[in-house]
Every structure is written in C-alpha cells, then in structure tokens.
C-alpha cells in the first residue's frame, strides 16, 4: 500500500505488547471519569435536581420547540459560527480558537480511538496512514496551538487586564489552567515521542516530522535527551495527561464548563416569537380569578427562566452593557441570573424528599431567603431600564430583564410596593390617560393651529398618526408632533389623529409591572382603533411603536405599525418630501439609537438614512451605538422615577456624545429627547451642544418651520 510507512504506532510506548495492563487501566480510568461526570450531574442540588425544579415551575412560556428545522439550523450556525460571541472581538477570537481547537483535538482523539481501539484490534488494518495521517497530524497540532493561543488570551485578560464587570471565581482560573495543562502535556507527549522516534535521523518518518509542528516545537528543549530517557519521561507524561483529561471531564459536570452542552440547547430553544423580549402573558379574564400575579416565588417562574440560570457561564457581557451597572447602580444582570441559580440549587435541596422527588414547599414552611429582597434586591429590580442590552449581548440566549419585570409585577399589583413617585403616574394614566396627569381634554391642543385631520371628522384614513402622550402633552416633544404633522401634510399623506379619543399606550405601566392598568389602557385604545377600522399606524414614540406592534397584538389587536423614521425615510426616498433648505449650524451631528427602535426593532439605518439625506453625511458615532447603544435612562418606567442611586444615565450618555465631538445629538424618541436635553443642561453644555429630534430637522430642511 503506497504511503503505508507514513504513520505512527498508536499508544506507542504505553500500550505496547509489554504493557497489556495499561490499555485496561486506561479504560477503567475513562469509565470512572464518565461515572463521576454522570454522578456530578445527578448530585444533590446539581443539574438534574435543578431540572426537577424546572418541572415544578408554573410560569407560562413562549413556544420553544416549534420550527425544529429552523431552530436546528440556527443553533448549528450560531454554535459553530460564533456570530454573537464574536461581537466582542478579543474574547470572541479567544473563544473561537479554543472552540475550534478543541474540535480538531476531539477529531484527533476520536480518530485515535477509532483506529487504536476498534479498527486495529478487530480488523488489523490502519486508516491513519499516508496523506490522511499527515493531514490528521497537521490538524491536531494546529488545534492544540489554537487552544493554547486562546487560553493565553484569556489568561492575559484575567490576570493583567480584568474589566470590572468580569467576576473572578476560582473555577474561572482552574478551568483555564486545566485546559492549558491538557494541551501542554499533550504536546509534551508528542514532543517526547518525536524526540525518541521521528527526530532521530534515519527514522522512516524523519522527513515528515514537521507535520507534527506543535510537538516538534515542544521537543526542541529535549533535543539533548537520550531515546531511553525520552521514552521514560514520555510514559510518565502520558499518564499525567490522561489523569488531567479525565479530571477535566468530571469537572464539566461541576463547573460552568457544563455550558458546552447547555448553551447549544438554549440557542435551539431561543425565543422565536416576533416580540424580541416577551413578558409572560396574563390573559385578561384571569384578573378576576387568579390569586397572585407576577413572581415572588421561584416556582412561579417558567421552567425556561430556571433553565436560563443553569446556562449562564458568567461571561459578564450583560453587565458590561447594562446602563444601571455603568452608572453605579446595584444591578448586574448576570448576578440576577446567578443569584437565581444559587437560590434554585439551595431551594431544590430543601424541596427534595427522601425518595429524590421534589415537592413544592409551602410559603409558610419555607425558611430560606426570599426571592424578592434577599435573592434579588429591590433596588436592582427597580434600576432596570428594560433597554434590552443584556438580552442582545448574551451569547447564551438568556433572557435577563424580563425576569425582573415578573418581580415588578408582583410588587406592583400584589403589594403596591413601587417607588412613591410612580403612584401619581398610575393615577395620571387612570384618570387622564397620560403619565403626566394633564387633563385628557388637552391631548390635541398641540394641533390647534395646524391643519391636522381628526379621525372623528375624516371617518377613515390610510394611516392613523398615533401621537402618544409625550408628543401630545410634553412641551419639548409637542414640537416633534407639530413637525411631523407639517411633514405629513406637505407630503399629502392620507392620515388622521384621534385627538382626545387617543389614550396612553400603557408602555410605562406595563414595564413598571402594572399589567392590569396596561391592559385597561390597551383595550380602550384598541376599541377606538377598531371603531375607525385602523389598519396602519404611525407612531411618534418608539415605546408606543413597540407596544402597539407586539403587546397589543398579544391582546388581539392586529395593526401594521410604523415608526415615523420609517415613514420619513420612505417619503424622502420617493421624493414626496424635498429637502431643499440646507440645515445649517449642525457641525458634528451624532445619532442616539433609541433602545425600542434599535435593539427591539432593528431600526438603525432609517434614521441614519434621513440624516444622510439632509446632506450631513454619516453621523459621528458615539462610543456605543447600534446594538450596543447606551440607554438614555428613561425606559422601563424609569422616566417617571427618581434616579437616586449612582450617577445619572442621561449624563453618561450626553458625555459620550460630547466625547465623540458631537455638537448636535439627534434623537427619534421623546424620552431620549427629554433625557439628552436635560443631560446637556445638567452638564452645563448648553452653549456648545444641543439635542434635536430628527423630525424637526426634516421639517426645517423641507422649509416647513
């Protein structure tokens, strides 16, 4: 057979004829490792106990197993392609090296096993020879070097430049050193074998020695060694390597290494509904009948919520992007998930019967820490702006912030326990259908001097212009509503507003946890929409946009919802609006991505297109933009709450704009507009900077001021 000399003896120097016991011993070791691994999964409070608890979890969940083909395709692409992991280039590349390196090594080990333990003993043949052998040699060595490179990158980050959002537990270091030890001992084995064989001149494989380039490098320090000494050391390192590998396998069950198995499963089960961050449905009819709302006991979460906690490997990306954490507030999304996991594993131990079954502990007889207040502190629950940066950043497809909204729901609806200033907001929404609690009769006052068609007069229109509370009541944002009305009029758009028939969309109520109030507002609005047979809706506010698009749909309202940036982009493209006037005095313009436009709905380019159409070129980007854009601080009902902890989010964002050299910060969201306008004032930058809404710029450029 050609090339038959290009091969090597498997288990060379270890499982030769002289050592029949060694093969048996290695099998026993492997078996022991597998047994200990499985035992680890089934240990008290371990993964499978957690699964038992998941089965008790009663919270509703979105579908997780529909569209199997699509899910599988996506999960495979994500796992092997590392799309989300690579969003952080340094960590991403390091992980990619380790991941693909391991796959190469696994392939190598697997081929060793197939050849050495199946084909050779049973068929006395050799597939590991010739060109394939050289390829196999090259690939496994390349894999090993990639793993070492990745591990070194991680070690450098952990020991020399650990960012403050990355926590540092013993297992984090143990895992890195363990993997390094496996690969280094592996290369030492190879190197010592080469020293004793292929590197000796005259050996038939001598010309091919460099195909094992990794081992070759590791062999260089041992070039002085005699063949006999190299063989002795080789045997020792071989066993050492085997022990470490088996230890590693066992450790997978006891550490965050389990993510190797759980993360692909979690990606497969990702949220495939339209709504990018769905909250648990509360069917309207249950308000009369259900005894409790929201979550205050672990078991009230959905099984997937609990599974999420077992998946998290503490990478901290959610913390790095969290606006609350970045302004020194006591919220770290990762810790919410990790505390939940700790709570889960502690509670499952208390809930285990002697026969290993998990029973629900009655609230009265449970003595462990309470979910709200102790496991997750209230300040953390209220610090969230629902900006979705955590969900967007998570490479494990965990849903972080909705778990906090579940707790808010309990606090708000069951305990009336929310920041004091929120009560007036609820009252405003209840009595006047706006959070400012301005008389609802004043809702259309902004449109008085303009020729804005009313739905009640027009009867029907292609588009309903849903102004929302900010555009209708807030002086700053009324200017945006006016600008939009003028643009729509000039473009000849067939639209109308509801005037005083319009109500609050309820976004803030929903995100503060008052689902009951939200649904009352939604039902009232949908009734009006349906009266006028509304099909298409343009919203001024991204919060209304998101709420009408997804949350109303869950309640049965089916509308085609657009944000005004989508409409304006279209009107400009189609030439229905001509931007004839130059927009002056705008040097260095930056665009602030609204969370509910960007991360929630992928509207990144339309606002930027509009800015380009204004002849201003591409906007200067701030340190964080697009998917990573920093929240203005007003989402999740935070608009209405005092910001007493840490520093102010709006000031941090304003500073980012200033640092980017922006003189004009463009927004497309009334909350952002307010927060950034305030931020500019608070930082004393009123002379050199200004915030402006894109609609105002378009109106000005179109000569509609």
């Amino acid at each position: 057979m050609p090339g038959a000399e290009i091969t090597r003896e498997l288990y060379w120097n270890v499982v030769g004829t002289g050592f029949p016991v060694a093969r048996v011993l290695s099998y026993i070791l492997a078996l022991a490792a597998i047994v200990l691994f499985v035992k680890g999964l089934f240990r008290r409070g371990g993964f499978f106990d957690a699964v038992k608890m998941m089965k008790l979890a009663s919270g509703p969940d979105v579908p997780r197993t529909d569209n199997a083909g699509q899910r599988l395709k996506y999960a495979v692409a994500e796992v092997f392609g590392h799309r989300k992991i690579l969003r952080e280039p340094y960590q991403g590349v390091a992980h990619l090296f380790i991941f693909w390196g391991f796959i190469a090594l696994f392939f190598g080990t697997f081929m060793d096993f197939v050849q050495g333990d199946i084909i050779e003993p049973l068929f006395h043949a050799n597939i590991l020879q010739g060109g394939f052998y050289l390829f196999f040699s090259l690939i496994t060595d390349l894999g090993g070097i990639m793993v070492i490179a990745g591990i070194i990158m991680f070690l450098v980050r952990r020991y020399a430049g650990r960012p403050k959002w990355l926590d540092d537990k013993p297992e984090d270091r143990i895992i890195l050193w363990l993997i390094l030890a496996i690969v280094v001992t592996g290369f030492l084995i190879e190197g010592l074998r080469l020293q004793a064989t292929e590197m000796q001149p005259g050996h038939p494989m001598h010309p091919y020695a460099w195909y094992s380039f990794g081992g070759h490098l590791f062999a260089l320090p041992f070039a002085w060694m005699s063949v006999q000494a190299a063989k002795g050391l080789h045997r020792f390192v071989w066993w050492l390597h085997l022990f470490i590998v088996m230890g590693f396998i066992v450790y997978v069950a006891y550490s965050k290494l389990l993510h190797i198995f759980t993360v692909p499963v979690n990606i497969y089960m990702r949220n495939m509904t339209e709504n990018p961050a769905p909250l648990k449905p509360i069917p309207p009819e249950t308000f009369e009948t259900a005894e409790t709302f929201g979550v205050h006991l672990l078991e009230e979460y959905s099984w997937k919520d609990l599974f999420d906690s077992e998946v998290c490997m503490r990478c901290g990306r959610c913390v790095a992007v969290c606006p609350a954490f970045n302004t020194d507030k006591p919220l770290k999304p990762r810790d919410v998930i990790q505390n939940l996991r700790e709570h889960l594993e502690a509670k499952v131990k208390l809930s285990l019967d002697a026969d290993g079954k998990v029973r629900v502990i009655h609230e009265e007889s449970y003595e462990g820490p309470g979910l709200i207040g102790e496991v997750i502190e209230k300040d953390a629950i209220w610090a969230c702006t629902t900006c979705m940066a955590c969900i967007e950043a998570c490479p494990a497809y965990i849903s972080q912030f909705p778990k906090l909204i579940d707790l808010r729901r309990y606090l708000t609806m069951m305990e009336s326990d929310f920041p004091a200033e929120v009560q007036e907001v609820f009252r405003g929404m209840e009595n006047n259908s706006n959070p400012w609690n301005i008389g609802s009769h004043a809702r259309a006052d902004w449109a008085k001097e303009l020729n804005v068609p009313l739905m009640s007069q027009k009867g029907e229109a292609e588009y309903l212009f849903y102004v929302g509370c900010a555009g209708a009541f807030d002086d700053l944002n009324k200017k945006v509503a006016i600008a939009l009305a003028k643009i729509f009029n000039a473009a000849g758009l067939d639209y109308a507003i509801l005037g005083t028939e319009e109500g609050c969309c309820g976004d803030s109520a929903k995100k503060i946890g008052n689902e009951y109030l939200f649904q009352m507002l939604a039902e009232t609005n949908m009734e009006v929409f349906n009266n006028y047979k509304v099909k298409k809706i343009i919203t001024l506010c991204p919060h209304g946009y998101n709420t009408l698009k997804y949350d109303y749909k869950e309640l049965g309202g089916d509308y085609e919802v657009y944000h005004y940036t989508e409409i304006l982009d279209d009107l400009i493209r189609s030439g229905k609006i001509t931007l004839k006037n130059p927009v002056d005095n705008l040097c260095a313009i930056s665009y602030h991505d609204s969370c509910y436009l960007g991360r929630y709905n992928g509207i990144y380019e339309q606002p930027r297109n509009i800015l380009k159409a204004l002849g201003l070129g591409a906007p200067v980007e701030m340190a964080s933009h697009h998917e990573k854009s920093l929240c203005c601080g007003a989402g999740g009902g935070r608009m209405w709450m005092e910001e007493t902890l840490g520093t102010r989010i709006n000031q941090k964002r304003t500073q980012e704009a200033a640092d980017a050299g922006a003189k004009t910060v463009c927004t497309a969201c009334p909350f952002c507009y307010t927060m950034l306008s305030d931020g500019i004032k608070e930082l004393g930058k009123g002379e050199e900077m200004r915030a402006v809404d894109i609609a105002q710029l378009v109106a000005k450029a179109a000569g509609l001021e």
Binding site: M413, M414, S416, N431, N437, G439, S440
Partner: protein
Amino acid sequence: MNSVVCVKQVPDTETLIKLNADGTGIVTDGVKWIMNPFDEYAVEEAVRKKEKTGGTVTLVSLGPDRALDAIRSGLAMGADTAVHINDADFAAKADPYATAQALAAAIKELEYDAIFCGKQAVDDDAGQVAAYLGELLDLPVITLVIKLELSDDGKTAIATREIEGGHAVIEVPLPAIFTAQKGLNEPRYASLPQIMKAKKKPVTVKTVADLGVSAEPMTVIKGMSLPPERQAGKMIEGADAAAKAAALAKALREEAEVI
C-alpha cells in the same frame, strides 16, 4: 376601632370644566370623576387604624349612580362596607347643610368610634360638612388633622392639627369627627386583589326618603364663572443681560403695572 368615612365623588382636578347654560353648575358630561383627594387621606387613616386595632371601616357617600366608582375605590383601599345614598336630584341641589343632613341620617344607623372626612371637597371647596355633622350628631370636630393617635383603651384620641406657622396637639374623647389634611398619611395604591375584592364588598343603597331626610338646602348657587384664560407668556428681547433687565423692568412697570 370602628370608623365611618364620608367620601364624595368630585371631578378630576385636571378635567376640563365647562359651565352649564344658566351658569349655576358645571356640565357633567365628559367629566372624569374621582374620589375627593382629601377623602383619600380620610379613608387611608381609617383603614390604618383598623389594621392596627381591628374593627370596621364603613364609607358613606351621597351622589348619583356614578358615585359608586368612588365608593369602590375606597373599598379597594381597605374599607369593609359602604352606604350609598343614591339620590341624583337631592345630590344635585344639596348644599353642605343638606348634604350633612343626609350623611348624618345614614351615620346614625351605624356604630362608630370616629368619623373621618376630607378637610374639604375640591369641587366646591366649602369645607362645611364635617362641622354640620358635629352639630347634627353632637360630636366634637377636629379639623385639619395631620397626625392622629389613639389611646391604648381606645377611648380618646390625640390629634395634631396644622395651624398657621405651627402645630396644635388636641386631645378629644371618642367618638369624634376628624377632617383630614394633606400630610396625615400617604394614601395607598390599591393592590389588584383588593380591587377585585372591592367589587364584591357589600354596598347598601338608600334614598334620602329611606333615611327620612326632608331637609332643603339653605343656600342656592346663583352663578358660577371660570377664571380668565391664562395669557401667553412674553419673551423679553434685548441685546444683552442689562438690556433685557431694563426691558423687563419697563414691562413690569408699564404693562403689568406691578412695580
């Protein structure tokens, strides 16, 4: 301690008020109705006392059908039962005296250690009902209470009143009437289970005739008028701060005539 709380349904303070054709009242169509905010302090205080010492809280309200909403709000805050004097005609023309007659008649049928009222209703701002009740029921009246403590035996109460530039602490034997001032407490936001429970709490509906009240109002509203519409603000122009200040001073003296 058993308490009675008088509650009144009033137009929301932000709602658009329009006068009726003859100018003696307001157009009630399209008005958003709420519980009088001062009555919320009264309900909250009664509920807190109940939570501390036991007993019951009964609401009494005079008003048409829609007043039931205000009653349900109070029940959701923790009151146990309510008497709804549902008499639209009587309520429409009742002055504070007639209102107090109806309320007193209903209260007489109840057992109580204290009666709580808001210090005034924010619609007509009369602030007289509690005083009339004191007269009709022969009870002491402590107005503008911002703090209320009960003695251990429940026989007396110590109330702190707000007075010009300070506080007065007053001891009074129970039963007595207290009118609630802002600051007495922070009224709660009713929890969802409480709102649902309130829908099932008993509300006794009575007419004025049922109560044997035949009082006629002692006063009649002859006319109402709305305050003049607020003038738009005026921006003071000027080249610099000094010029603007001069222009402002001139405007204050010549246009506003205030200096």
